[in-house]
């Protein structure tokens, strides 16, 4: 707890440095990642993050130390080449894009590993930090790193905000953007450069192997809460920021821990929470509304069955008869019958289950919708009477009172359906 207070009171200037650095890079990665996610190019980010490794090693060979300027330049160069390779190969050859991404990723990373191991063999003393570029070490951020990486991250954020509208249009409707005279190719080039830069900012703190997660996962999590781009960006940034700082804190408390994996753990946790519990789009709420809908359908069917029985025989059904209508669903049927009794749609006497006045109105409505839809299908779509029943079975649960009124009007209040059954209305007895 003491460490926690110490860390988050920001008394230690080094901690301020680390938190500032990781916050800036998380924000820029999450923003760029949101666009690539929506552009369905999430895995290109993965390829780029692996592909910066050879550049980092070459910069190290050239400069002889971990000079951030050279590292950034090297990383940017190979990262950009890899993006170019992916788009060149997948547009000019018959290879599929995912194959190309996987191939480019592994080849560049392999070359990076070759150079890295070569450097390790030479036993350069200043090299001890080079391994950190693999899995990240936020705690090792120094003032010079912050200036370089922080500057790049801010640059990425600013450019994204300046060209927000343009990028949005390209992602959602590239053809339209082209037709209104936008320089789509140039904008794509700018965006790809920003993507590479966003990856480059993460190599020190998160590491090349897992940087992809900071691009993909915040956007994936945010997508489940909203359909609006600016809200999604804001959420993705919040998620990334939280996990970035949490990861930095963990590697502060446990010095041997690389930062990257912990950032990924936290952001993945947030993502899984979103996948399952997000309002509306989350698994649980979708499952719940689906169940609610199925329940409604089943109850509609119970009411309808009773109504049809009444139409024929003018009396109720026994509970056993009613349950027998729904083969294999006896227990749910029994449960819903009780539910309908509680809602005062049904009443159970000694022998029979009958519709109450309110249940009768409701059942009549369902049967009416069913039959009206049958009339509509046969009249306007010229379907044969024996083909209309199944479709009407679905629509009877969906038609709203508005649509019902329109149907009635456009069909001129028909008296019977195509099977010559009367269409029941509220004013008749």
């Amino acid at each position: 707890m003491e460490e926690f207070i110490y860390f988050f009171s920001f008394k230690d200037p080094n901690i301020v440095l680390v938190v500032a650095g990781i916050s800036l890079l998380s924000i820029s990665a999450a923003m760029v990642g949101t666009f690539t996610f929506l552009d369905k190019k999430a895995l290109v980010g993965d390829a780029i993050s692996h592909a910066v490794l050879p550049g980092v090693c070459m910069a190290f060979m050239f400069a002889g130390n971990k000079n951030p300027y050279w590292i950034v330049l090297g990383a940017f160069t190979t990262g950009a080449i890899s993006t170019y390779c992916i788009s060149y190969i997948s547009t000019t050859t018959k290879l599929k894009e995912d194959t190309v991404i996987a191939a480019v990723l592994s080849i560049f990373f392999g070359v990076g590993i070759l150079l890295l191991t070569q450097l390790q063999q030479t036993g350069n003393a200043a090299l001890s930090g080079l391994d950190h570029f693999l899995f990240g070490n936020a705690i090792a951020i120094v003032w010079e790193d912050l200036i370089v990486y922080g500057f790049i991250a801010s640059f990425v954020i600013i450019i994204l905000l300046v060209f927000y509208k343009e990028f949005k249009l390209i992602i959602f409707n590239a053809h339209f953007a082209e037709s209104v005279g936008m320089p789509v190719r140039i904008l794509r080039f700018v965006f790809n450069s920003l993507l590479v830069l966003a990856v480059v900012t993460g190599i020190q703190a998160i590491g090349v192997v897992l940087m992809a997660a900071l691009l993909i996962t915040p956007a994936a999590a945010a997508r489940f809460w909203t359909n609006k781009l600016h809200v999604m960006l804001l959420l993705a940034v919040t998620f990334a920021l939280f996990s970035g700082v949490a990861g930095a804190y963990i590697s502060y408390v446990i010095p041997k821990m690389p930062t990257g994996p912990w950032v990924v753990m936290v952001i993945s946790f947030l993502a899984f929470i979103s996948f399952f519990f997000a309002k509306k789009k989350g698994m649980v709420s979708r499952w719940y509304s689906q169940r609610k809908y199925q329940k409604k359908i089943h109850m509609d069917h119970i009411l309808k069955t009773l109504f049809l029985h009444w139409e024929k025989k003018q009396q109720g059904m026994t509970q056993g008869e009613l349950i027998n209508q729904f083969q294999g669903k006896a227990s749910t049927t029994r449960q819903y019958i009780n539910h309908l009794i509680n809602k005062d749609h049904l009443s159970a006497t000694e022998h029979y289950i009958t519709l109450t006045p309110s249940g009768f109105t409701e059942a009549k409505r369902i049967v009416r919708l069913h039959r009206l839809w049958e009339v509509y299908l046969s009249k306007y779509l010229n379907l044969a009477p024996d083909h209309v029943h199944d479709m009407a079975e679905k629509m009877e649960h969906l038609l709203t009172p508005d649509l019902e009124a329109q149907l009635e009007a456009s069909l001129d209040y028909p008296a019977t359906d195509p099977h010559q059954s009367t269409i029941p209305r509220d004013h008749d007895v």
């Binding site: 018959k94 990076g112 391994d131 997660a213």
Partner: protein, 291 residues
């Protein structure tokens, strides 16, 4: 250059791994599942570490089972995320494997003292140490490099797998609807292919590491794919490229003094580059000169 026994062993092992990866990779790229291969090669890591912790040995069957299980779990999670949770497919892959790989790295760091595995080994393996890691029988007979046997068993099983399910793999790769209409379950074929990919990944893991397996899975088949449109020829080319990748990769690494696995990935990239040049330019020139 004189005959170097150790070099020979390393090249043979590399070639065997390249063959099993190439055979499976052919079907992966035909099914547009190259990135699933990437995901699996990352995702087996926690399985390996956990199995390692429980069984306390590196060469045990437990490690292979652990990795195989994790590989299949990863496939199922990706499938679940994209079909049930309705997350777009590429993001499902990205989220799943980065998460599992992060777990693996954290486990390795946490139990660094207890297991003989480190981050370097995970990334690029230790194929150079194959000749000194010997399989010794209880009575003291030296049978030869242990990893060579592991790779050999893997190759044999992969070849059996491909031969036994060749028709099913082929049909499900090219026409999934037709396959299901004649009663071949694409889902089961997929899962068994993923199981084999996981097993191959882990069996090659010690030699070439988790990420560079991907190069061998994807790049030689992609190269062959550019050179032919006949499946059997594609497999043949893949095998030839795989063997040469191992051979040349070893010598490149030897002269640069770096990781052999990394060099193999680089060499496979050069083959791919030639194939791209061939398919984009040479073909056009040939057609042009004929016309």
């Amino acid at each position: 250059m004189t005959f170097d026994h150790n070099a020979f062993l390393i090249i043979i092992t590399g070639a065997l791994i390249a063959i099993s990866c190439g055979l499976l990779g052919t079907f992966l790229i035909l099914r547009r599942m190259a990135m699933i291969g990437d995901a699996i090669s990352h995702a087996v890591l926690p399985g390996i570490v956990l199995a390692f912790l429980f069984s306390q040995q590196r060469e045990g069957i437990a490690v292979i089972i652990g990795a195989g299980v994790l590989g299949i779990i990863a496939t199922l999670i990706i499938d679940y995320l994209s079909t049930k949770i309705k997350l777009q497919h590429d993001a499902s892959i990205g989220v799943t494997f980065t998460w599992l790989f992060a777990i693996g790295i954290i486990l390795i760091t946490l139990f660094a003292g207890q297991i003989d595995l480190d981050q370097d080994c995970v990334l690029y393996g230790e194929i150079a140490y194959i000749p000194i890691d010997l399989w010794i029988l209880p009575n003291g007979t030296i049978m030869g490099p242990r990893v060579l046997y592991v790779a050999l068993i893997n190759v044999i099983l992969v070849i059996f797998f491909i031969m036994y399910l060749f028709k099913e793999l082929k049909i499900t790769s090219f026409d999934a609807e037709f396959a299901s209409s004649i009663g071949i379950s694409t889902g089961i074929i997929n899962l068994s292919l993923m199981g084999m990919v996981s097993y191959t990944t882990v069996s090659s893991f010690e030699a070439v590491g988790a990420i560079l397996v991907l190069a061998l899975l994807v790049v030689p088949p992609a190269t062959a794919y550019l050179l032919t449109s006949n499946l059997k020829r594609m497999i043949l080319y893949t095998l030839i490229i795989g063997v040469f990748t191992s051979l040349i990769g070893y010598y490149v690494a030897y002269y640069i003094n770096g990781s052999i696995a990394g060099a193999m990935a680089g060499v496979s990239g050069i083959f791919l580059l030639f194939a791209i040049i061939y398919s984009n330019f040479a073909k056009r020139i040939i057609i042009f000169s004929k016309a």
